[in-house]
């Protein structure tokens, strides 16, 4: 056997070619989505040139594309988002603390967990109907108000906030909890002084990413009858409010090419820049935390 030198058989050659071809195919598939998105983004960026300027960001909408602006939608989106953060952060963290620190591994806990996973998959348009029935209908928050919009979208992203907060809390090493108990701390003191501070960067990252998701939501706002075009910026919780994606949706249905390729492109770029800023903040928090440990 030792005298036999291994020779390249036809079979070996074929399977090696197949191996390389498959590797390239898989790499190509991996890049398809990324490359096509990059191409579309490049297109929209080029189209936005000349339209995305200070006047666009500081004016109200206008039927004339050269006068049209984004200010009420921009401010509306940010106002809704801040209120969503105020609602989802305490509730989301509270639910995550309960599930990770207090709940036993019983049937109820597993049911809650399964329910949260399922809620994360409920279509956003259905949350819109929930908002319409519950917040607009039953609780009388008013059609398309800041309050109704924020509560509706808050319920939508709550499962995501809970799931990411749970992951952050789970990542806190158990030895630190034991050390805290060893010093005579109660469960609540341990959670407040040890677990939450350690998990906070992770919780913040998850919450901010979820807010990024919230800022792009359109369908729920349509369902609670948020006005598609608003000319003033919201000045109270009961004000009617529009949002960036809603304004984009409206403009995209205008037939004029100036709107289709100019104004909407400027709106899309603005929305994506805000989204990118939000996500960068989340990444900065995560990186600073990783360096410290």
């Amino acid at each position: 056997m030792a005298t036999d030198t291994p020779t390249e058989t036809d079979f070996g050659q074929v399977s090696r070619t197949k191996d390389v071809a498959f590797r390239l195919l898989a790499l190509g598939a991996t890049l398809i989505g990324i490359v096509s998105l990059a191409a579309l983004l490049a297109n929209v960026a080029v189209d936005a040139v000349g339209w995305l300027n200070w006047g666009f960001l500081t004016s109200p909408p206008h039927p004339d594309p050269y006068e049209a602006g984004f200010l009420p939608a921009l401010v509306g989106s940010i106002a809704i988002m801040l209120l969503i953060a105020l609602i989802t952060f305490p509730v989301g963290v509270g639910a995550a603390v309960y599930l990770e620190e207090y709940a036993d591994d019983g049937l109820l806990t597993r049911f809650i967990q399964l329910n949260i996973a399922n809620l994360a998959g409920v279509p956003s348009v259905v949350y819109g109907l929930l908002g319409l029935g519950l917040f607009v209908g039953l609780l009388g928050f008013g059609y398309g108000t800041v309050l109704a919009a924020a509560f509706t979208v808050a319920l939508l992203i709550l499962p995501i906030v809970i799931i990411s907060a749970q992951e952050a809390i789970r990542a806190v090493p158990d030895s630190q909890r034991q050390a805290s108990y060893g010093m005579g701390a109660t469960k609540w003191q341990t959670i407040r002084n040890v677990v939450l501070p350690r998990a906070m960067p992770g919780i913040m990252t998850g919450t901010i990413l979820a807010l990024g998701r919230a800022i792009g939501e359109t369908a729920p706002l349509i369902m609670i009858a948020a006005p598609t075009t608003v000319f003033g910026i919201p000045n109270s919780l009961e004000s009617k409010v529009s949002a960036m994606p809603l304004q984009i949706y409206t403009w995209a249905s205008y037939p004029e090419t100036e709107f289709q390729y100019g104004v909407v492109a400027a709106g899309v770029v603005t929305l994506l820049v805000v989204l990118l800023t939000i996500n960068s903040i989340a990444i900065v928090i995560r990186n600073r935390y990783q360096q410290r440990t």
Partner: protein, 307 residues
């Protein structure tokens, strides 16, 4: 993981208990949300079904909630949703699976560190932006060599497909990474190439996770709203088996797009069209909820296997 509480300080214990119940309330809120969703949908849907029979809704072949003569047959909307689901599945399932194989079996640590977040960006782009892309860039590009309508199911399907790629790839990759290395080593020991190991060992071993990711992605495609509302149009159309290509080339309407159409109209109040919103919403909710549940159950099976 309950800890013994040796504190004999009554106030501290009481406060601890209070927080425990407060946090429990937060967790129970998620169940309340589900109950609220079901109740909201049911109350108006039951009202709707008092006026339009369930049989008429489920078997009717014409959807026209506002134009005379009004008709509330949901089948055209379901078939529109089916067209988008099949179309986006044809895009996302093969690409997502190949991506997962590449990330799990071929990519170096370094390359994966760049590719994974880049892919996740796909799921983070607002769907209204994808809808706009489909309408303004994809449709005109495809129109140069296909007889497309301005609004068509093809562009919308492609965009929904691209959006759900990361859902398929990341869950499938998790499942493939959970396959024990000993299985791969055994296969290499028999002289298998990486291709054979990937397709004949890793994929079959991870099949329940892959299957679960497929169901979840399809459920997301069914519920996707803005892409189809912007790019696929508002033409409720029954599936015509004699002309399947025509379905993709022409305008259709999905359940979600129909809801948006009613939602943006000036129908406020208690008319049948308004209530039909909740009937369609209930149908959509039941379908996606069932799919998410199946996906969750299938996924929890493979989690047990390799621990």
């Amino acid at each position: 993981m309950s800890q013994p509480d040796f504190s004999h300080d009554g106030i501290r214990t009481a406060r601890g208990k209070a927080f425990r119940y407060l946090f429990m309330l937060c967790a129970l809120l998620s169940i309340l949300t589900t109950v609220a969703i079901i109740l909201t949908l049911l109350v108006d849907a039951v009202d709707f079904f008092a006026e339009v029979s369930l049989g008429e809704f489920l078997t009717g072949t014409r959807w026209s909630p506002t134009n005379e003569p009004v008709a509330f047959g949901v089948l055209p909307l379901i078939s529109g949703t089916l067209v988008i689901t099949v179309g986006s599945a044809l895009v996302a399932l093969p690409i997502g699976l190949l991506t997962a194989i590449y990330l799990s079996e071929y990519a170096s640590e370094r390359r994966r560190a760049y590719l994974k977040p880049a892919l996740e960006v796909l799921a983070g782009v607002p769907t209204v932006v994808y809808g706009y892309f489909a309408l303004v860039y994809v449709t005109p590009a495809l129109d140069t060599f296909l007889p497309l309508s301005t609004f068509n199911a093809l562009s919308a399907s492609i965009m929904v497909g691209i959006m759900i790629i990361p859902m398929v790839s990341s869950i499938s990759e998790d499942a493939m990474s959970a396959v024990p290395d000993s299985l791969r080593q055994a296969s290499y020991g028999l002289g298998a190439t990486k291709f054979t190991v990937s397709t004949s060992v890793v994929v079959p071993a991870a099949v329940s996770g892959i299957f679960s990711s497929f169901i979840l992605a399809l459920s997301r495609a069914i519920g996707e709203t803005m892409i189809v509302a912007i790019a696929a149009g508002q033409t409720p159309r029954l599936i015509d088996v004699t002309d399947p290509a025509g379905l993709f080339l022409n305008s259709i309407q999905t359940m979600t797009a129909a809801m948006v159409q009613i939602g943006t109209g000036d129908i406020v109040g208690q008319g049948e069209a308004y209530k039909s919103l909740f009937a369609v919403g209930l149908t959509l909710f039941v379908i996606t909820f069932a799919m998410n549940l199946v996906s969750e159950l299938v996924a929890s099976r493979y989690r047990e296997e390799y621990r």
